[in-house]
C-alpha cells in the first residue's frame, strides 16, 4: 500500500531531535531543545526501548502502532510526527512500515449484535460466560477475510460464513480468535457489546481529587471499557482503577498478586471510595468470600487440584461488570485462559510496564485489550508527582572463606552465598546512618541471609512467614515513623504503599529480573511531603554471581533513565 507522505502535510523536514536508525528504530537526542515535546508525541505510538542519559531508543512495533491506532491515531499523524521531529528525511521504508502496520488494525472488526442473512438482529443471546450475545460477527473492511480465515488455527474458531466479508463467531471463541489473529499480525478491533453486569454503584470519596493524568487515564479507558492503563510505580494506579470502577458502577472483580495486595486494595477502597467494608470480599487461600467488590489472588484463581482449576467459576458466578487485573504484566497463563472466556465483560489492566519476561505482550493486547493510556515516569517526575531517584551500586569484597564457599557452590547456592557476604551488614549499617530518619526498606530475596541482617541491624523483618496482620502493623509503623528501618523479603515487591519511605537498600535479588527491579524502585519513588529525593541502593558482593545480576539491573535502570553510580563499600 502507499503510505501517506509526511511531506504532503506541508511540514518540511526539520533538523529535529530524532535520528532514524533503521526501518523501525528512532533515536531521540535529549540535548535537543525539542526533545521533551518530541518524546510526548513519540510515546503515543513508539515503544521506549532504552532511555539512558543522552540518547533514547524508540522502536516502532506492531503492538505500539496498533495501540496508537486503537487510541485514535492514524498513520498520517504518526508519519507527520516522525517527519516533523526528524533530523533528516524519513525513509520510505519507515513510512511503509507505519502505514502497513497501522492499516492492519481495523481491517478486521468484531461486532456484537449479529445480523443474520435476512438482516434481522439476533443479539442478546446467552454467551459462553453467561452474558452477551451467543455469537458475534467478524467482518473485514478491506476484503481480507479469506486471508484471515486461512491463518493457522483461525478456521476452527469461526462459524457460519455469511458473505464475502462476514463470518459468525461463537461468543465462546471471542478471545481465542483475537489471540490467533494477533499472532498472525491481524489484530481485531473488538467492538462487540460488553455486558453491563449487575449494578453496584459507589462514588469516590469527596476529599479525593484525581490527578489530571489519572482523570485522563480513566477517560481514555472508559469508551471501549477494555484495555490497559500503564502508569509508573507510585503514580496511583489503584486510585485510577477505583475511579474507573466508580464510573462503571457495577460489581467488580479485582485480581491481584498476593494477600498483601488484597489488603492494600481494600484499604484504598475504604479510604478513597464510599464502598462499605461489608461489600468487599476476599477470595484467597484463606477466605472464599464473594461480595459486590471481590478481591482475588491470581494464585487462587490458577490453583489446580488433580489437573482442574477449582476456582475459575468465580468469574461466572458474580456477573461482574468489570474485571481489574492488577500488575497485568504478571498475568499467569491460567488467567489468560480464563480471560479468553470473559471477553464480553469490561476489563481493565494495570501495570507499570508492559514488558513481560515471557514475551506474551500480544496476549495482553488481544485478551485484556490495547493500551489505553501511558505516561512516562519522567513526565510525572517533572510535574512533581514522582520523587526523583538516584541508583547506587555499592560493592563489597567477600572474605577469602566466602570466596571459597562461593567458588565451590553450585546453581542457586552461589547466589545465597553471595547474598550472605558479611561485609554487607556493615555497608547497610553505614547507608542507614547516612539516611537516618528518612524511612528505609532493606530488601532481600534469601531469608537465610536476611534474618541475620535484620538481627544485626536490630530491625524488624517481614517475610512470607509473617502473618498478614503483623505485616500490616509493621508497614504502618514504618509509614508513621515509629520505626525507621524494615527488613523485607520479596513480599515487598508488589503493591506495597509506603509513600514516605525514601531509601531502599536491596541486598539480594532474583537473577536481575527487570520486573523486580522496577517494582522495588517503585517503593521509594512515591512523592515525599518534603520533596526529598529517593535513594535506591544495591549492595553487591564483588566477583560473585551478584555482580552479573547487578549488571543486568544496572542496564535496566540506566535504560529507564535513572542516574546509576557504582561505589566501593570502603568509600562510604
Amino acid at each position: 500500500m502507499t503510505p501517506p507522505s509526511g511531506a504532503d502535510s506541508g511540514t518540511p523536514p526539520a533538523n529535529g531531535p530524532l535520528l532514524i536508525a533503521g526501518a523501525d528504530t528512532v533515536l531521540l537526542q535529549l540535548a535537543h531543545p525539542e526533545a521533551e515535546e518530541c518524546r510526548t508525541r513519540l510515546a503515543a505510538f513508539a515503544e521506549l526501548e532504552r532511555s539512558p542519559d543522552h540518547v533514547h531508543t524508540f522502536r516502532l512495533t506492531d503492538l505500539g502502532l496498533w495501540n496508537a491506532r486503537a487510541a485514535g491515531l492514524d498513520a498520517e499523524s504518526v508519519i507527520d510526527t516522525l517527519t516533523r521531529y526528524s533530523a533528516g528525511p524519513v525513509p520510505h521504508a519507515m513510512m511503509v512500515l507505519v502505514a502497513d502496520t497501522m492499516a492492519r488494525f481495523g481491517a478486521l472488526v468484531l461486532d456484537g449484535s449479529v445480523a443474520d442473512a435476512n438482516g434481522a438482529s439476533r443479539g442478546g443471546d446467552e454467551a459462553g460466560d453467561g452474558v452477551g450475545p451467543a455469537s458475534l460477527l467478524l467482518r473485514s473492511t478491506d476484503g481480507s477475510l479469506d486471508e484471515a480465515l486461512a491463518e493457522p488455527g483461525v478456521a476452527t474458531l469461526v462459524g457460519e460464513r455469511i458473505d464475502e466479508d462476514r463470518v459468525r463467531v461463537p461468543a465462546l471463541n471471542r478471545g481465542r480468535l483475537k489471540q490467533a489473529l494477533v499472532e498472525a499480525r491481524r489484530p481485531v478491533d473488538d467492538r462487540a457489546a460488553v455486558s453491563p453486569g449487575l449494578a453496584f454503584g459507589f462514588d469516590l470519596s469527596s476529599d479525593l481529587e484525581l490527578r489530571p493524568y489519572q482523570r485522563q487515564a480513566v477517560d481514555s479507558w472508559l469508551p471501549a471499557a477494555a484495555g490497559v492503563v500503564v502508569l509508573p510505580c507510585g503514580a496511583g494506579k489503584t486510585v485510577t482503577a477505583l475511579a474507573a470502577a466508580a464510573e462503571v458502577g457495577a460489581r467488580t472483580l479485582i485480581l491481584v498478586t498476593g494477600e498483601a495486595s488484597m489488603q492494600q486494595w481494600k484499604s484504598e477502597l475504604l479510604q478513597f471510595t464510599t464502598v462499605d467494608e461489608a461489600d468487599i470480599g476476599f477470595y484467597s487461600a484463606r477466605s472464599k468470600a464473594v461480595a459486590p467488590i471481590t478481591i482475588a489472588t491470581y494464585h487462587v484463581i490458577s490453583a489446580r487440584r488433580n489437573g482442574e482449576f477449582r476456582h475459575l467459576d468465580l468469574i461466572q458466578r458474580g456477573d461482574w461488570g468489570l474485571v481489574i487485573y492488577d500488575e497485568v504484566h504478571l498475568l499467569p497463563s491460567a488467567v489468560f485462559q480464563m480471560t479468553a472466556g470473559i471477553q464480553s465483560r469490561r476489563r481493565l489492566g494495570l501495570t507499570a510496564t508492559l514488558i513481560r519476561e515471557d514475551g506474551r505482550q500480544g496476549d495482553v493486547f488481544s485478551l485484556v485489550g490495547p493500551k489505553r493510556f501511558d505516561v512516562p515516569w519522567r513526565e510525572l517526575e517533572l510535574q512533581g508527582w514522582l520523587a526523583p531517584a538516584t541508583c547506587t551500586e555499592v560493592r563489597v569484597v567477600p572474605t577469602e572463606a566466602e570466596r571459597l564457599a562461593h567458588a565451590t557452590a553450585t546453581g542457586q547456592e552461589k547466589a545465597k552465598v553471595a547474598a550472605g557476604v558479611e561485609a554487607k551488614i556493615d555497608v547497610v549499617r553505614r547507608l542507614l546512618a547516612r539516611h537516618r530518619g528518612e524511612g528505609a526498606l532493606v530488601i532481600g530475596t534469601y531469608l537465610v541471609a536476611l534474618a541475620p541482617l535484620a538481627e544485626a541491624l536490630d530491625a524488624p523483618m517481614v517475610s512470607g512467614e509473617t502473618s498478614a496482620a503483623e505485616r500490616l502493623r509493621l508497614f504502618d509503623a514504618l509509614r508513621v515513623g515509629e520505626i525507621d528501618v524494615l527488613v523485607v523479603s520479596k513480599v515487598a515487591n508488589f503493591s506495597l504503599d509506603l509513600p514516605e519511605v525514601s531509601v531502599a537498600i536491596q541486598v539480594s535479588g532474583t537473577f536481575g529480573s527487570r520486573q523486580e527491579e522496577a517494582q522495588r524502585l517503585g517503593r521509594v519513588v512515591r512523592p515525599k511531603a518534603d520533596g526529598r529525593q529517593a535513594h535506591f541502593y544495591t549492595v553487591v558482593a564483588r566477583d560473585t554471581v551478584e555482580q552479573e545480576y547487578a549488571q543486568r539491573r544496572q542496564l535496566f535502570l540506566a535504560e529507564q533513565g535513572y542516574a546509576y553510580e557504582i561505589i566501593d563499600g570502603t568509600d562510604l
Binding site: 536508525a21 494477600e259 557504582i566
Partner: protein, 778 residues
C-alpha cells in the same frame, strides 16, 4: 580521399573519442594512421563498434551499405523516414566512430562495412550481388518481365533489374502472373526481417510443380538459392515492397521515457539516502568479515549459498544483499577469490581511508563497470539451484547496456517523476539493440534486475531517480561527490557513551573509530547511526587483541562526546582485575612425582632444559613434550615412570613418577546437560502445564504449606527446595519393588509425584517413594 588521410585531419578530441569508443584500435596507434585506418576497416573491428550502436545508426549504415555513396537526403528517401535531421545525426555518429566517411556531403562506408551482418532492416544482399547465382535464362526472363531487357552485359542486366525492383510498380510487374499465394509468401518473407530463407533438406525446385509459390519465386529469380540449403531475398525486393518506407520514422529517434507520477522528491531522496547509507554500512561490515579471513569459496569456484547465509547471519545483513555486495566488492577490486577463500586486496586498505562519499562512489563506479548482473547472485537457476556469488553467472553483454540505459535515461526525469520498467527496457534496447540479443532473458527482466541493483546503491528509489543519478550520468565527479556527501553525511569521529553501557554515534561513524570500537564493544545496529554495547565479553575481546584498560579508557575518552560514564569505567576495571586471573598453559605432558625430591631431581637434570620441563607445583612438572617421549627420556635418566590416562588409573600402583597422557580418552561422563524443551513433551502429555503459578500451587499442595504470594515461591527460600528443581536435571533416588533405584531426567512437574522427562519419555515417581533428589552436577 583514403580513410587514413581523413584520420590525419581529425582534431585530437575527435581522435580521442574514436579510440575511447573503439579501444581495439589502440594497439595500432604506434604504427601510424595507416595502421589505425587498416584496423578500423576490418570486419571484426567494425563489428565490435556497431554492436554498441543504436538503432538509428544501424538502420542508416544498412541503407548506406545498399546504396553508396549516398547523400543524407538519398538515404532518407530510401528509408522513407522523412527525417533528414535524424539521418544526418546518425551519419555523424557513425562518422565519429570511423564507420562511414562524409565527404562533400556524400557518405560512404568505410572498408568492410558492406560485409556486416548487423541488418536491423532485414535487407539482404543486393540483386546485383545475388545475380551470380542465377542462370542467364532466368536473368533474361526476369529482365523481360520488368521491361529491363536489352542490356549489353549480364552485370548491366542485373543492375537494371535491381533498379526496377526497388519500385513498387516493378515488384508488382514481376509477380503479375505468379501463382496464387505468391504475393502472401513474399510478404511473409519480408516481414520476418531476415533475408536468408532456409530450404528443406533435399529441396530441388526444378522437380517440383511450377505453381508452388516458393518454387515460382526461386525459378523466377525473386528468391535466389545460394546453396542447397539457403536462399536469399534480394534487398531491392524488400525496398520495393515497403511503399511506406523501409524504417518507421520512430526508429531513427531515441525513445524518450514518459514519466509516471512518483513519490514526492523529498521521499525519494530520503529513501535513496537511507538505502545508500545502509548499503555502505553493510558493505563495510562484510569487508570487515572478509578481512578477518573468514570467507570460504566452493571447490568449483564462487561463494556458495551456505557460506552466504552464514555471512548474513554473522553480519545481520539480508542474504540476497550479502551476495550482491560480495559481487560489488569484487567488481570494485576490493576483494579477490583465492584458492579456498576470499581475501581483501591492497585497494581495500585505501578504500577504508576514503571519505564516506568517496567510498560509496567507488561502489557505484564498480557497479557501473560490472560485467555481470550483481542482482543475480543467489538467484535460482532454471534447474532451481542457487547461483553462487563471484561465479561469472549471467555475464551478459546487456548488463553494461542496461545500467548505462538506466543511468542516462532515468536521470533525465524531473524530481518526483518515476519511470515504467517496460518503457525503460524499450528505450534501453533502442540504444544498443545488438547487446540484448538472442538467448538473453527478456529486456524488461534485465532492466528490472538493473533497477534493483541501482536501488541497492541508493541511485534509484521507488522507480524514481535520486539526485545522484544525474551527476553520474553527466560524469560530473565533483557534483556527484557533493551530492553523495550531502546524502551520506560526514564520518563522525565521536560517539555518545551512555551509562547503559552503549555507545551511540549521532551519524555515520568513521571506519577507523568503528573498527576500534568494534573490538571493544558489540555492534548492535548496522544502520547509519551505529550503536555498540559494551560487556565483559567485549572488553575481554579487546584485551585479547592487545588492548589494556588504560588504552581502552584513553581511546574512549578521546572519542566520547560526553566523557566515559562511571559504570563503563567500572566494567573495564572489573574485567582488567579478572583478566588473566586464571591462566591456561600449553602443555603435552604432565609429570607427577611421589615426592618433591624426585621432582627437583628431574628439574635439575640436563634433560629438563632440553625438554622444556618446569615445575608448577612441588611434585608436578609440565613440558611441551608428548608422554611417550618423556617416558623414554626419563627412563634414560634412570627413573621408572609409567603413563597414566587422565583418570589417573592406568599406571602401576608403585610408580614413583607418573606421566599423564592428556590425549587419552576421558572416562565416560555423566550426561547431566539434558536440554529441556516444552515442545519435546509427548503429544499425549496430560500432565500439568508448565506454568509457574500453577506449579507454585502444586508445590503448596504437595508440601502442605500456605503460599499466598507467587513471587515468594519463585525465589525466596522455601521450607524445602523441591520447586527449585523444576526444569533442572535431577537424580531421583526412590524405592521400587523394595529396591533403591536412581532415575535421571528433567523435572517438569512436582505434585503427588515427581515427573521426570528423559530420553525414554515421561516418568512419574510417586512422592512417597522418593528417598533423595540430587543435583547431578554437584
Amino acid at each position: 580521399m583514403r580513410f587514413a588521410d581523413h584520420l590525419r585531419q581529425w582534431d585530437p578530441d575527435a581522435l580521442t573519442h574514436l579510440l575511447t569508443a573503439r579501444p581495439d584500435l589502440l594497439s595500432a596507434v604506434d604504427d601510424g594512421f595507416d595502421a589505425v585506418a587498416r584496423r578500423a576497416s576490418t570486419p571484426m573491428s567494425l563489428g565490435r563498434c556497431l554492436v554498441r550502436s543504436d538503432v538509428a545508426m544501424l538502420v542508416v549504415a544498412e541503407a548506406l551499405v545498399l546504396t553508396h555513396p549516398a547523400t543524407p537526403a538519398e538515404l532518407d528517401e530510401l528509408l522513407g523516414t522523412n527525417d533528414l535531421t535524424s539521418v544526418i545525426g546518425a551519419l555523424e555518429r557513425l562518422a565519429a566512430l570511423g564507420v562511414v566517411v562524409i565527404e562533400g556531403g556524400v557518405a560512404r562506408p568505410v572498408g568492410a562495412l558492406t560485409d556486416l551482418f548487423l541488418r536491423p532492416l532485414g535487407l539482404g544482399p543486393s540483386f546485383t550481388e545475388l545475380a551470380t547465382h542465377l542462370s542467364s535464362s532466368t536473368l533474361d526472363d526476369l529482365a523481360t518481365r520488368l521491361g529491363a531487357g536489352g542490356a549489353r552485359s549480364r552485370a548491366a542486366t542485373a543492375r537494371a533489374i535491381a533498379q526496377r525492383l526497388r519500385a513498387t510498380s516493378g515488384l508488382s510487374a514481376a509477380i503479375a502472373d505468379a501463382p496464387l499465394g505468391t504475393a502472401e509468401m513474399l510478404e511473409a518473407l519480408i516481414d520476418q526481417r531476415s533475408p536468408t530463407v532456409g530450404l528443406p533438406a533435399g529441396f530441388s525446385y526444378q522437380r517440383l510443380p511450377e505453381d508452388d509459390p516458393l518454387v515460382w519465386l526461386l525459378s523466377h529469380g525473386l528468391l535466389v538459392a545460394i546453396d542447397d540449403h539457403h536462399a536469399e531475398l534480394p534487398a531491392e525486393i524488400v525496398i520495393g515492397a515497403s511503399s511506406n518506407g523501409l524504417a518507421p520514422t520512430a526508429a531513427l529517434r531515441p525513445i524518450a521515457l514518459q514519466p509516471v507520477t512518483g513519490l514526492p522528491a523529498e521521499t525519494v531522496s530520503a529513501s535513496a539516502a537511507d538505502r545508500a547509507s545502509r548499503t555502505l554500512e553493510a558493505t563495510e561490515a562484510l569487508l570487515r568479515q572478509i578481512e578477518a579471513g573468514d570467507v570460504a569459496t566452493l571447490k568449483a569456484g564462487g561463494i556458495g549459498a551456505r557460506e552466504i547465509k552464514r555471512l548474513a547471519k554473522l553480519t545481520g545483513i539480508d542474504d540476497r544483499d550479502v551476495a550482491r555486495l560480495l559481487e560489488l566488492l569484487f567488481e570494485g577490486r576490493l576483494i579477490v577469490p583465492t584458492g579456498s577463500g576470499v581475501t581483501v586486496t591492497p585497494l581495500a586498505a585505501r578504500w577504508w581511508q576514503l571519505s564516506r562519499a568517496r567510498r560509496w562512489i567507488v561502489l557505484v563506479r564498480a557497479w557501473l563497470g560490472a560485467s555481470v548482473f550483481i542482482s543475480q547472485a543467489l538467484s535460482r537457476t532454471d534447474e532451481g539451484k542457487l547461483r553462487p556469488a563471484l561465479d561469472d553467472h549471467e555475464m551478459l553483454a546487456a548488463a553494461g547496456s542496461a545500467r548505462r540505459g538506466l543511468v542516462d535515461l532515468a536521470s533525465g526525469l524531473a524530481s518526483g517523476e518515476a519511470f515504467d520498467i517496460d518503457q525503460l527496457a524499450e528505450a534501453s534496447v533502442w540504444r544498443c539493440p545488438n547487446l540484448w540479443g538472442v538467448g538473453h532473458p527478456p529486456p524488461e527482466h534485465l532492466v528490472d534486475w538493473t533497477v534493483a541493483e541501482a536501488e541497492l546503491l541508493g541511485l534509484v528509489a521507488q522507480n524514481a531517480p535520486a539526485p545522484t543519478l544525474a551527476a553520474l550520468a553527466s560524469d560530473d565527479e565533483a557534483r556527484l561527490h557533493e551530492l553523495a556527501a550531502a546524502m551520506l553525511g560526514e564520518d563522525q569521529g565521536h560517539v555518545m557513551l551512555q551509562s547503559d553501557l552503549t555507545a551511540v554515534a549521532l551519524g555515520p561513524l568513521s571506519p577507523r573509530v568503528a573498527g576500534v570500537l568494534g573490538e571493544m564493544a558489540d555492534r548492535i545496529t548496522d544502520s547509519a547511526v551505529p550503536q555498540f554495547r559494551f560487556s565483559e565479553t567485549s572488553i575481554r575481546r579487546a584485551f585479547d587483541r592487545g588492548w589494556g584498560s588504560e588504552g581502552v579508557v584513553e581511546f574512549l575518552s578521546a572519542h566520547a562526546l560526553s566523557g566515559v560514564p562511571q559504570p563503563l569505567s567500572y566494567l573495564i576495571a572489573d574485567v582488567e582485575r579478572r583478566y588473566g586471573s586464571v591462566r591456561i598453559l600449553d602443555t603435552r605432558g604432565v609429570i607427577v612425582t611421589e615426592d618433591e625430591a624426585t621432582a627437583l631431581e628431574i628439574a635439575s637434570s640436563s634433560r629438563a632444559a632440553r625438554l622444556g620441563l618446569r615445575i608448577i607445583a612441588p611434585t608436578v612438572l609440565i613440558g611441551p613434550v608428548e608422554p611417550r617421549r618423556l617416558l623414554d627420556e626419563l627412563r634414560a635418566e634412570g627413573l621408572f615412570p609409567v603413563i597414566d590416562g587422565v583418570d589417573g588409573c592406568a599406571g602401576g600402583p608403585h610408580a614413583a613418577v607418573r606421566l599423564i597422557d592428556l590425549d587419552a580418552p576421558e572416562p565416560d561422563d555423566l550426561d547431566y546437560d539434558i536440554e529441556f524443551d516444552a515442545e519435546s513433551l509427548p503429544a499425549d502429555w496430560t500432565g500439568p502445564a508448565l506454568d509457574e503459578m500453577a506449579l507454585a500451587g502444586e508445590v503448596a499442595d504437595a508440601v502442605g504449606i500456605l503460599v499466598d504470594d507467587p513471587g515468594e515461591m519463585s525465589g525466596e527460600e522455601p521450607p524445602h527446595g523441591l520447586h527449585l528443581l523444576r526444569n533442572r536435571a535431577a537424580v531421583v533416588t526412590h524405592r521400587r519393588d523394595g529396591q533403591l533405584v536412581e532415575a535421571r531426567g528433567v523435572v517438569v512437574a512436582i505434585g503427588d509425584s515427581i515427573t521426570l522427562l528423559n530420553e525414554s519419555g515421561v516418568e512419574d515417581l510417586p512422592i512417597d517413594s522418593v528417598v533423595a533428589v540430587e543435583d547431578p552436577s554437584r
